[in-house]
Structure formats: structure tokens, C-alpha cells
């Protein structure tokens, strides 16, 4: 199989416009004859479903929560980037494009990223028109801030609730179409399989989470906007229900999964406090502007009250190792260093499973320098949140932080049209792999989700539909649907019939520990090989010894979780395999074997300047690797350095 990204030729600046002009259109009178299934109502899915509805297509939208408004996009805090250059500080479409390619450590497609930067400006217009209450200046115009180390202030924000406000905007557009009758919304409905007929995506199988009923849905195109797979690590900053099921099932039906090993770790999260921990909470990175990161010099001092430790017994390891960037080194560098000092036994805080995994983030000096009230004005809400969760007061004793999984850059492989290698299967938002390469810049996920949903997918889906026409009649009686429905039902019955001894979560935790240890912040050949041995063992025990109480009738949350964990138990293996295969370090993927003398990530552009896209061959059979070569014509390949 040769992977064709279908990137338009010609100058990159006009490529998207030219491409749009060349696309086919569906006559307005015919649009309602097409059925499009949109799975997911986060930023990407809600924006896409609403826009297709406005155009007059017949849309069925699905989400697993009880309302479309609760998709995980709601939790994004920091902001959304756009190349508006309202601050006149030198930003431009080209600069956002350049920063994103470089930030992605040269593992994304230039053409896609350029389009993203171009569209970013339209997103802000759209959101404001919907009533998204972005922060404003006294003159009434929109305010911006600089985010995640960017040198320009291009981030739009709505206090610490940017994702919530953008999602509510998309949700309102979606609700308007539900009212208009163009979109039918199916909440508490989980997609459990994709139906492919004659090489085309033609439908999905869902389970109604309120009744347990399995249903077949027929479509002329299927859109997956089902978010990221960070929960493969069990503990992450993702919502509890985030899963890989929809994309993994599509993978099992032939869609290629690209770069699954690219995951992003956020350095400033509240550490684990006990074995019961269910998720991790992110604290804004802005804290590192004033907080100083340290651990005791000696492991013996790990349990001492930090305020009693004099200056010469503290190790401000980021300031020591990176004198010019200090506490503001990029996310992955900060994260890996925290792991290193904890591995050395110098971690602080609660002991969980015999280890202390936290470092101090100390505001003592900042409070002395600028005063408590200034710190309160800057971070009051974050300090409040920290106190609520930990019961400690960060004005008096240092915060404790530790890295956590936050975002997944990998996802289903898509071409420039956001269509996977399966005809008629479109993948949007965090679920696809397309724009962030090996590392995502802060405030760029919201931008990508909305770009995909509002502006990219609607015309490319229309083009696809215009080309295939609506003539082909398929009913739920088709063999393809009957087989998928049968398999889904069998799997559910199998899960329910095991009635073993261990609860579902215990397997998820066990898998998460393996993933975090072996395929987390830093990875080695030996570690990954161990994980590849261990995961199938956990999976085997799961299928023998899990206890999923109840039956497939009505609400059964154990069954919901069991299905998702079963998929993670297969997917984790694919991630480790991809991480093993990519013997270089790049972006969020750090292979200990591939580092500079200073311990920094070392890319290998000769052997790995490609996208790795995996083809399913069977659960117990190794998948086939396909490579899409990446070329860089506009941004020169360079090695990054933060010394």
C-alpha cells in the first residue's frame, strides 16, 4: 500500500483555496438525500455536524455522555491560538505555521499545518459571532496572551475556561440544527464498530447506554471525532470516559493507525495521592513563570518539611541544568527531568506503591519579590484549586507537582482531506494524527478541532459525497451490518459471561502502570520489549478473570468500562510496538538510546523522517508498517536546544 497524503501541488499559500475550487459540490436540493454519521460532539464533531446540517445534509450525531455539551473539550483551560496579529507583535499565518511545524519536531505534514494556520483566523470570528465570551480589553476589543513559551501573544482565552466556552459555542450551533431538524442527536450512545462495505465506510454499530440496545446506522459517510486515547495510561488528565474504542475498531476494520507512540506529557499536574486515584488534574503551565522547581539534594531529606531545608540542601535542577531557560524549559524536558530526580529517590510527598513521585514548585521567592497579593492576582484560582484537591496552602508551603499524560498526537491516518485510507471515513480533531507531528504546541488542539470541524471537513465531505452519489442502496439487512452486529453482540456476551474475580478497573490500572513505566516519559528498547511481553499476559488474564456484573440490559457502567479496557489492552501493544520501531527521539517521544551528550532528544532524520502508519493483521499477529515520507520545503530541519 502506498500512502498518498493527497497534498495539493503549487504554492503552499494558495494550496487550500485552489484545492477548494477544484472540489465538487452537491446541489443544495440533493443534500438532504445524503446521510452523514458524525461520532463525537466535542469541538471537532459538534462543529462538523452543525456545519453539515446548515448546508442541508442529513446528519446523525452521537456521543457517549448524556449531553453533547459534556465532551472532553470542555475541560481545556488555557486558550486557542490564531494568527490574527491583533497585538502587532510580528505574528502572521506564516509564523504560526512555522512554529507549529518546528514545535512538532518536524514530524507533521507542511501542507496540513499551513492550512490550519490560515483557517485559525476564521475560527475566532465564528466563535465571537456565536457569543463566545472571550477576554476583552477595556476598549472592548479582544485580549490575547502568550502561551507555552510562544514569542508572540496569539492566544485567545476565556478566563481558565476556554474549552468550555468554545464547546458551548459549537454545542449551541449544533442545538440550532437539532431544532431545525437537520441533525438528529443520539446521546448516551457509544459506537462499538464500523461497517465497511465494498471498501467504503457505510455505517456504525452502537450501543444505547440507557437500554443496552445494539443498533445499526447506515450512512453515506462516517465521521469519527472521538478524541484522544490518553486513558490507555489509566491515570491522565483526560475525562474518565475518553477511550480508543471508536478509532481502534476502525483500525481493526482496515483504517491505518498513525504514530500511536506520540503522546504528550504535561509537567505540572497534581501528583497521585493514593492507589485509589482515578484521574490527574492539570495545573496551568503559567505557574512555572514564577514558581521554582526543586527537590532535596539528598534522598534522606525527602520526607522533611520543605520549609526547614536550607538553600544549600535544595537542588533547583532545572535552573542548574538549563541556565538560560531555567524553569521554563519545554513540557517534555521539564517532565523528563522530574522523572529523573524521582527515579534517583529524591521525589517528595506521599509514598504510593513504595515510591515518592512529586517535585516541589515553590513560590516562596516570588512572594518575597513581588508580594503575596501579586501572586494571588496572577494565580489565585489555581492556588484555590490546589488547596481544594490537596488540602494544603501553596502560599505557605511549596506545591507538589508531577507530570501526567495530557494529549495524544497519534491517531487514525488521514490524507489532506481528512479522509482515512478507508473511503468515506473521515477523522477529525484529536482522533486523527494530522497536524501536530510529534509534539503539540499549547493552545493548538482547540484550534485544530474547530478548523477540522467548521472549515476543512464540510467541503471535503461534500466533495466525496458528490463523487460517490447517493444511488447505492444499502439496508441494515446487508451482510456487512449483520456480521458487525453479531460480532459486537458476541463480544458483549463474552465479557458478561466471564464472571471472574477481578474488577475491570484493576486491569486498567495494571495496564496503565506498564504503559507509564515503559512507554511514558522515556522509553528504551528493553523496556518496550518487556511491555510487549507483559500486555498480552494482562489481556489474557482479563478475558479469563474479569468480573463484569449484570447483563446487557439498561444502564451497566461496568460493561461500558470493560469494553473500553478490552480495546486499550490491545491498543497498548500497538503503541509500544510503534515506540520500539521508532528508534529515534522526537518531540514527546524520547528514546533513551537516542540522545545528545547533554541528555537531550536526538532526532534521526535520515531514518525516521516519516509517518508510521500501522495496518491491523489480527489481535495476536504483528501489524504491517507503512511509511509516509515527510518533506520539508518551507521550514528547515534543525535540532532544537534549550541550554
Amino acid at each position: 500500500m502506498t500512502l498518498d497524503g493527497k497534498c495539493p501541488s503549487g504554492p503552499i499559500e494558495t494550496a487550500w483555496d485552489t484545492h477548494r475550487f477544484n472540489m465538487k459540490l452537491v446541489n443544495p436540493a440533493n443534500r438532504r438525500k445524503y446521510n452523514v454519521l458524525v461520532v463525537g460532539t466535542g469541538l471537532a464533531g459538534a462543529a462538523c455536524a452543525a456545519t453539515l446540517g446548515e448546508l442541508g445534509f442529513n446528519v446523525q450525531a452521537f456521543c457517549y455522555q448524556d449531553s453533547a455539551r459534556r465532551a472532553h473539550s470542555i475541560a481545556a483551560q488555557g486558550g486557542i491560538n490564531a494568527a490574527k496579529n491583533y497585538q502587532n507583535d510580528g505574528d502572521s499565518v506564516h509564523r504560526l505555521f512555522y512554529d507549529t511545524v518546528k514545535g512538532g519536531d518536524y514530524r507533521s505534514r507542511e501542507a496540513n499545518v499551513h492550512r490550519l494556520a490560515q483557517i485559525s483566523v476564521n475560527i475566532i470570528d465564528q466563535a465571537v459571532a456565536q457569543g463566545v465570551p472571550f477576554a476583552r480589553e477595556y476598549g472592548g476589543l479582544l485580549d490575547n496572551r502568550s502561551f507555552g513559551g510562544a514569542q508572540v501573544a496569539r492566544t485567545f482565552y476565556a478566563r481558565g475556561q476556554t474549552g468550555q466556552q468554545l464547546l458551548l459555542g459549537a454545542y449551541s450551533a449544533l442545538s440550532r440544527q437539532v431544532h431545525a431538524g437537520t441533525v438528529k442527536l443520539h446521546t448516551r450512545t457509544e459506537m462499538l464498530d464500523l461497517v465497511v462495505i465494498d471498501g467504503r465506510a457505510r455505517g456504525i454499530i452502537t450501543r444505547n447506554l440507557a437500554t443496552g440496545a445494539l443498533e445499526s446506522w447506515i450512512g453515506d459517510a462516517v465521521v469519527l471525532a472521538t478524541g484522544g486515547y490518553g486513558n490507555v495510561f489509566f491515570l491522565s488528565t483526560n475525562a474518565m470516559g475518553c477511550n480508543v474504542t471508536a478509532t481502534y475498531k476502525a483500525y481493526k476494520k482496515g483504517a491505518l493507525f498513525a504514530n500511536p507512540c506520540y503522546t504528550q506529557i504535561h509537567p505540572t499536574c497534581i501528583p497521585v495521592s493514593g492507589g485509589y486515584q482515578s484521574k490527574l488534574t492539570l495545573m496551568s503551565e503559567s505557574l512555572r513563570n514564577d514558581g521554582r522547581v526543586w527537590v532535596p539534594k539528598s534522598a534522606a531529606d525527602a520526607t522533611k518539611d520543605p520549609s526547614t531545608l536550607p538553600e544549600d540542601q535544595r537542588d533547583y535542577y532545572l535552573e542548574r541544568r538549563y541556565p538560560s531557560f531555567g524553569n521554563l524549559v519545554p513540557r517534555d524536558v521539564a517532565s523528563r527531568n522530574a522523572k529523573t530526580v524521582c527515579d534517583e529517590g529524591r521525589g517528595v510527598g506521599h509514598e504510593v506503591d513504595g515510591q515518592r513521585r512529586a517535585v516541589y514548585l515553590d513560590f516562596r521567592d516570588a512572594i518575597q519579590r513581588v508580594g503575596k497579593s501579586t501572586i494571588e492576582a496572577r494565580y489565585g484560582n489555581l492556588f484555590h484549586m490546589y488547596t481544594k484537591i490537596t488540602g494544603e496552602n501553596p502560599y505557605e508551603s511549596p506545591m507538589r507537582i508531577y507530570p501526567a499524560i495530557h494529549y495524544t498526537m497519534g491517531g487514525l491516518w488521514v490524507d489532506y482531506n481528512l479522509m482515512s485510507n478507508i473511503e468515506g471515513l473521515f477523522v477529525l480533531g484529536e482522533a486523527n494524527f494530522s497536524d501536530h507531528g510529534a509534539n503539540r504546541l499549547g493552545a493548538s488542539a482547540l484550534m485544530q478541532g474547530l478548523a477540522d470541524g467548521y472549515f476543512v471537513a464540510p467541503p471535503t465531505i461534500s466533495d466525496y459525497l458528490a463523487r460517490v452519489g447517493w444511488g447505492s442502496k444499502i439496508t441494515a439487512e446487508h451482510e456487512g451490518f449483520k456480521a458487525a452486529l453479531g460480532e459486537t453482540n458476541d463480544r458483549i456476551q463474552k465479557l458478561l459471561n466471564i464472571k471472574g474475580k477481578r474488577p475491570v478497573d484493576s486491569f486498567h490500572r495494571e495496564l496503565g502502570n506498564v504503559m507509564w513505566d515503559k512507554c511514558g516519559m522515556s522509553r528504551t528498547k528493553e523496556g518496550l520489549e518487556e511491555a510487549l511481553k507483559r500486555i498480552p499476559e494482562i489481556r489474557a488474564e482479563f478475558w479469563e478473570n474479569v468480573n463484569v456484573p449484570g447483563e446487557n440490559k439498561g444502564v451497566n457502567q461496568s460493561l461500558e468500562r470493560a469494553g473500553r479496557v478490552a480495546d486499550f489492552l490491545e491498543f497498548g501493544e500497538l503503541m509500544c510496538l510503534d515506540a520500539l520501531e521508532r528508534a529515534e527521539s522526537c518531540g514527546g517521544h524520547f528514546r533513551e538510546e537516542s540522545q545528545t551528550e547533554d541528555g537531550e532528544a536526538l532526532r534521526d532524520d535520515v531514518n525516521f523522517c516519516h509517518t508510521a502508519a500501522w495496518e491491523f493483521k489480527g489481535v495476536e499477529t504483528a501489524p504491517t508498517l507503512h511509511k509516509e515520507a515527510l518533506t520539508f520545503e518551507h521550514v528547515k530541519l534543525t535540532q532544537r536546544s534549550y541550554k
Binding site: A47, T51, E54, Q65, D66, S67, A68, R69, R70, I74, N122, D125, Q126, A127, V128, A129, Q130, G131, P133, F134, A135, R136, E137, Y138, G140, L142, Q161, Q164, Q165, L168, Y171, S172, A173, S175, V178, L185, A210, A239, M240, G274, Y276, S278, K279, T281, H350, K388, I389, G391, Y454, F455, K499, P503, D505, N547, V548, P549, G554, N556, Q557, S558
Partner: protein, 249 residues
């Protein structure tokens, strides 16, 4: 610590429910309320018993999925937080807690602590939006918005749609929720053209869903995890009155 729970168990919407008592030991003060339920549920699952069903997702107080009554108070004893953010350090060893679902005619119980809040979605579908097609938006900075208005609109827009306001209201009214959306959009110039129609349509839907009427108890504001102010209800009532007078329908 050891906590005793009286949990409302109801196996389906049609079934009769009842309180069931559970003793949970080994509870840590650092656990959240939902993590404490996870621990209990793991124990129930290991024994092959049905775990307690409750809605939850983000566990950060922002998605609005979670919510139930703790000893008769929506989202429990702490101010301005959801149950997912309530930590066990708010309670003490030996405490007995009664956990019950939201009770309102418009929110039928689905199972245990889980209710059907789709009525809220239908209120939004009735008019909780600005009618702007993708692609038809003007340049964002073309219309400046007074900072005070933008800030106040944000305060209203912070509603997470959890339903605690309805659960706390003696009349099971949805005024706080509805008024928050009506005010958020009504305060912005972008929402002005549809201001009358929006208020009329959303309130009509609210009535149709079977929510009760507001008699100014203020219980809603007291339990709202996002601190939405009852002033928005007064604001909506003014909007409604003006809209009714102006209405040509």
C-alpha cells in the same frame, strides 16, 4: 476513616427504589467523593454485585455530568463545588451520608444516582444560540463589546448544566439554568437581534418540560457550583416581560 453510606438504589426507571446501607472503611481524606464510590464499586464488582451507577466524566467540576444529593444538599456541603471535587476531608470518621439522585419531575431517575437531564438540552435547542451559519461571521474585532458586559456574559456562560439548581428548588424550577443562557447571549451585541424570541421560546420550552415556577427561594444560587447569581433570573423576567409586550405573535 470509616464512612457509612445510605445510597438510593433503583435498578431501572420503572423499578421501585430503596436506600441500601454500605459501610466503607479505609477511606482516605485525600479521596474525592467519587473515588470513594469507585472503591466501594470495585468491592461490589469483585463480589459480582452491581456497582452504584452515577454520571461523571471530567472529575474537574467543568463537564457538569456529576451531581447528587449528599445529606439533602445538592453537590454536598462545600460551597461552589461539584460532587466530583468534594473531598472526603470534608467529612469525619464515622459520618453517615445519605446519597440520593436529583429529584424533579423533569429529571426522571434512570438508575441509582443517575437521572435523565435531556430536558436541559431541549431548552437550549428551543433558542439558546445565536443564529450564525459557519462562514458568515464578520471580523471578530469589528464589534467591540464593553468589558463589563463581556465579563457579566462570561459569569452567566459559566453554567455547566449540572441540574443542581433544579434539584435544590422546592418547585423544581429551571429558572437559574435558563436565565443563565438567556442572559449570557442577551448581554452581548451578537445575541441582541434574537433577544426577545430567545427568552420567549426558551421559557415556553421550560414550561413544557414540566419544570416548576420560581417563587424566589434562592436555593438554586446556594447550591450552584459555578456561583450563578439569582440576579440573572430577575434579568430574564424583565426580558420576558418586555418581549411579551413587544411580541407580535
Amino acid at each position: 476513616m470509616k464512612i457509612t453510606l445510605n445510597v438510593w438504589r433503583q435498578s431501572s426507571p420503572q423499578a421501585a427504589g430503596a436506600f441500601v446501607k454500605y459501610d466503607v472503611d479505609g477511606v482516605s481524606a485525600d479521596m474525592s467523593m467519587l473515588e470513594m464510590l469507585d472503591v466501594l464499586n470495585d468491592r461490589l464488582e469483585s463480589k459480582g454485585e452491581a456497582p452504584i451507577a452515577f454520571d461523571h466524566d471530567c472529575r474537574e467540576g467543568i463537564c457538569g455530568s456529576c451531581g447528587f444529593m449528599i445529606n439533602g444538599v445538592a453537590h454536598g456541603p462545600e460551597k461552589e463545588i461539584t460532587v466530583c471535587q468534594t473531598h472526603m476531608r470534608s467529612f469525619k470518621d464515622g459520618d453517615e451520608l445519605t446519597l440520593e439522585p436529583w429529584r424533579a419531575m423533569a429529571f426522571p431517575v434512570m438508575r441509582d444516582l443517575m437521572v435523565d437531564r435531556s430536558a436541559f438540552d431541549r431548552i437550549i435547542q428551543a433558542g439558546g444560540y445565536v443564529s450564525v451559519r459557519t462562514g458568515s461571521a464578520p471580523e471578530a474585532n469589528a464589534t467591540p463589546v464593553m468589558k463589563e458586559h463581556a465579563d457579566m456574559a462570561f459569569e452567566a456562560a459559566a453554567c455547566i448544566g449540572c441540574g443542581a439548581c433544579v434539584a435544590a428548588c422546592p418547585n423544581a424550577a429551571a429558572m437559574l439554568f435558563t436565565s443563565a443562557k438567556v442572559s449570557h447571549l442577551g448581554l452581548l451585541p451578537q445575541g441582541a437581534p434574537e433577544r426577545d424570541k430567545r427568552a420567549l421560546d426558551m421559557v415556553a420550552q421550560m414550561d413544557k418540560e414540566g419544570f416548576g415556577h420560581c417563587t424566589n427561594h434562592g436555593e438554586c444560587e446556594a447550591v450552584c457550583p459555578k456561583g450563578i447569581s439569582v440576579n440573572f433570573i430577575a434579568r430574564m423576567n424583565r426580558d420576558l416581560l418586555k418581549a411579551t409586550l413587544r411580541s407580535t405573535r
